[in-house]
Symmetry: C2
């Protein structure tokens, strides 16, 4: 599968002198992805994870599709409101928020918050009275290319304690989890929802019912490896809910980010140099004008491996190390991942990095080594 | 040693409501560091590595002290020229440059370039006629906290070939190396200069003399571990030059960055949350409002370990994981490094991260998770 669409190709070919690196995002792909996931998940409300790509055109499209939003900060709330969202369409999913940021959200109508600790619950009770608070539980992250295993969530027994305390404080309670970003194994949802089910049973014994369950994100983009369909994720989620939350009817939400926008983006970069370190080494070093500080932070540790196409494809290839443009040795994209690129590849060639619509523009540094932040261009039908 | 100066302390205390996170840089420290290194290194011309911190006030100070600059990009050239530098005071140290960026530099008077490959030499010969080209050799980076070992430089035998080709093409030749950033072992310079000496001998057999030798950077800031004095580095460098370049007299330059500005900066951050994952775990999680995507990229893999002070210092402490504010599990500053912080530390407390003047502001993302880039404030006497 080649993720380049006609709209993206026309934009690139129509702007041969546009300064690289730049990203092109096709809204038609975003819309199609939204629809396919919404259709598959049925009664699960979609809250787009704004951090994946906060371009105003994308937020407007999600809104036009009937979607909601999940945010990490006050600025992301502002972006959603500017796109026309109402506060109650926004969940504030960051588990560590400043007290004044909670108040800021609450004043703007946000009523759904995530937490995973007593300290955060105290802040929510004080600054978001009457809101619904979702306790996030730890998830192993096994099977995810970008695991979110340790930083977020608490152990299930602590979740029971925290939600009892929340209920006593008079707020409605829910639960949340995240199976890890780019999660290629739908069965991960069953493992997580079994934990949710156990917590729900413990709470039910106290007469506390979960108002909402947030099944998180993790729906993958198409990088190198094959990925399951939205239907396979939907089946795993609905089956696990039937098993572990039988007889309960919490409102269900999900937070797709990467799945909606990842494959909608193509990043265009120029080859700066093709070199070797010694006459003994077969592998070439290919330096391109985008690196881990210019927007490809997810290539750190080679976690996310983007597909790359070049104008020399079809000819003989050889092994390469692919490096970014800065004077920092950490700015190497792929060394251990056994990338091969055409032997004819030369400085000045424009290469395309596919499925780069998620977690690129906002990761870009403000100007490390004096390089400008990654620019984005939007193509496709606007809502 | 506590790197907070009176000027920095007064700024912080005088601005209690300033939004965090922010960096304060004391120019007096930058000036003192410049002077001590210049005095110790004697006849080695200093080219400040602009990428460490390109604040205009710092560039002006370096210029007033008689210093020169090393740049990584056209934008950094613009910054130096805007500060009043002349093109011939600038070396262009990035080994992978676009052909048009070389031409841009050359048009502005830059005459000193670094390279490490035939492809780059071809570009330099074509676009920077009459310049001096320094071939960078690979350095192991052993003993450096932020090694620069594999990405930059070629093997010495290839350097000989490349410099022969450069000489045939009519450009003046030199050599460069870098012992690794935050290099705490001065003897690393001897290892590198032995390589330079070997290359110089090979070239001399062809009647080619090195016009310049760039001993790079690596001079450390004061993080947790003790560091040698500038005098110890100077002695190691001069001794190695006497041994390995005996009878030759290349112009000598160095590229200090971190050493001049690292200890001049203090980063102020607010504690967002103190939490635990379960009732069984003694370690607390301390979330602060600065993380690896907000400017502390050098904390990735816990490579650079900043000293942290808090308003609760003096009371009992306990082990902590220190995390950044974003919804990304990679945004953890210190987990394995056994940091301890006061048990009384609470949300809203302002903590100081010391020696954060280098490689922070420009590493900051443009807005990951909607968080604004790191702001910097300059204190101390302006030149």
């Amino acid at each position: 599968m080649n993720a380049t669409t006609d709209s993206i190709r026309e934009f690139i070919e129509g702007n041969p002198d546009l300064e690289t690196p730049y990203l092109v995002v096709d809204l038609d792909i975003v819309g199609a992805r939204y629809q396919s996931l919404a259709d598959a998940l049925g009664d699960v409300a979609l809250h787009y994870a704004v951090k994946a790509n906060p371009a105003p055109e994308i937020l407007s499209l999600v809104l036009a599709k009937g979607g909601n939003f999940d945010v990490a900060s006050p600025h992301e709330i502002d972006l959603c409101l500017a796109a026309g969202a109402r506060g109650e369409q926004i969940s504030y999913g960051n588990t560590a928020k400043k007290a004044r940021d909670i108040a800021y959200a609450y004043e703007r109508g946000v009523r759904l918050f995530t937490f995973d600790s007593l300290g955060e619950l105290d802040k929510l009770v004080a600054h978001a009275p009457g809101a619904t608070v979702m306790c996030r539980v730890l998830c192993g992250g096994a099977g995810a290319d970008w695991p979110l295993s340790r930083k977020f969530g608490c152990e299930p027994p602590m979740a029971v304690e925290l939600l009892r305390a929340a209920s006593r404080a008079g707020v409605a309670v829910g639960m949340a989890f995240h199976v890890g970003s780019q999660q290629r194994h739908p069965e991960a949802f069953d493992v997580a929802l079994a934990e949710i089910g156990w917590v729900a049973s413990e709470l039910a014994a106290d007469g506390i019912e979960l108002a909402v369950v947030n099944v998180g994100g993790g729906f993958p983009a198409q990088y190198h490896e094959a990925i399951p369909s939205p239907g396979e994720y939907a089946q795993a989620i609905h089956c696990a809910i039937g098993t572990h939350l039988a007889g309960r009817s919490p409102r269900l939400i999900a937070e797709p980010g990467r799945y909606l926008v990842g494959d909608a983006g193509v990043l265009v970069s120029e080859v700066v140099l093709v070199s070797s370190k010694s006459s003994m080494e077969e592998r070439r070093w290919v330096t391109v004008d985008i690196g881990v500080f210019g927007g490809l932070a997810e290539a750190l540790d080679e976690a996310i491996r983007y597909r790359i196409s070049t104008p020399r494809d079809g000819g003989p290839t050889g092994p390469v190390v692919i490096a970014g443009p800065s004077c920092d040795s950490m700015d190497v994209l792929y060394d251990k991942s056994d990338y091969h690129l055409p032997l004819a590849l030369s400085p000045g060639d424009k290469v395309m990095l596919h499925s780069t619509g998620a977690y690129t523009t906002t990761y870009s540094s403000v100007g490390f080594n004096g390089f400008a932040p990654l620019r984005a261009h939007i193509v496709g039908d606007r809502p």
